[in-house]
Symmetry: none
Subunit: 119 residues, 4 copies
DNA sequence: GTGGTCTAGACCACT
DNA sequence: GTGGTCTAGACCACC
């Protein structure tokens, strides 16, 4: 599956989100070795530099660690991954509820809206 | 209340969102006259050019109309405002549900999460 | 004065150090506007991209803030600058003393060594 | 005590520094036989190739000599060790004073700072 | 082979 | 004009 990007935010940031999301979701498992920068770049259809930038930025979160001359690994700290997962859920929910609340929807109304959606 | 901006997205877009949100919510009422570009710019703490650009862009949606030599008015087309309101709700919901679904949450689980939140 | 780099660490990191050092020292004053990326790149004799990278990394420290389409400014938070200055001094001293202590030098001996140096 | 490395500089260089520092300090004594590459590699927790590279590089300084089929020995040239010790001290001091001087500290101020530190 | 850095040059969005 | 992003391609150090 090719990666798809929109023009709303920089590609490297979208890559960040995608990869972090894959880690959070478990597609990339704790301790697992990541594909090489070049391979990931090909897979995502971007320049290796762009992929490189995205990856090194994720590094700052601790979710990824680099072994020089070897490759990149997903952190073995499952607790950290859990924290990110939790934070992601909370932030997404807060953002959504904030918007809806601004339009004076009550909690019950919001739940009612969601209930009617097929998924 | 002063307007607050973050550096993540263009200021004029954030202004757009704020103003449209005020129209949708009813803070700016249908048919009402808008403050002058200059005054709005001062209120928001931005360059008049930036405010100008934001307003003309909103104009493109039909939510705002200009009366030459007089000023800008919120559209009297309440149906249009309703449409925007509806679209905003749908987009926000879809975005939120998309993120949660990516983490394998079911609809029931999502509702359960929201139910537990105080608001 | 042209900027000089050694091959021991990446250029962009050396640029970081130089700029932070200039802020700490007061060569770049609090609130002052920085030269443009392109100009700084010319001054330092590096590619604009390299300078860009250095600057945006400094941004993360809060020492620099960016105004879109305008330019970069040294933070007005003098307390923050003071903190960095203090931290820099402490780290440098600790590193030096650590090395000397590893060779079993006493504090008095270290002071004696420094005293004999011309500066 | 296990060896600890950071990702800032090459591991083999960090190994160099550690071993040279042990020779300079006298932990590894003049004329003494060094453990085997394999054992040292295990002790340091690195790939034998890496340890090998570090050792051969130190060899270039004369601090270590290899006796084919026997092993590696710390040089018996105590004067050489002394020189390295001296050079290490001078370099460390110069680096430290350089940094402090860049912040406009006088020699007296530097000495005063050191005097106040507990060690 | 792997990650990391740098250059060169282009294009875009924002003020 | 300013910062920001992206591509392309090269080179290096490390394991």
């Amino acid at each position: 599956m090719a990666w798809e990007f929109n023009g709303k935010s920089p590609i490297f940031k979208q890559i960040n989100d995608i990869i972090i999301s894959k880690i959070i979701k478990g597609d990339y498992k704790s301790g697992e070795k990541l594909a090489s920068v070049r391979d990931l770049a090909v897979e995502a259809g971007v320049n290796p530099n762009t992929m490189q930038r995205a990856l090194s930025e994720i590094e700052g979160t601790g979710l990824l660690t680099t072994l020089r001359g070897d490759g990149r690994y997903i952190t073995e700290d499952k607790e950290l991954i859990g924290k990110f997962r939790q934070r992601f859920i909370e932030e997404s929910t807060a953002e959504f509820l904030g918007k809806m609340r601004a339009l004076d929807f009550s909690k019950d109304e919001i739940i009612s809206i969601i209930s009617k959606i097929n998924m």
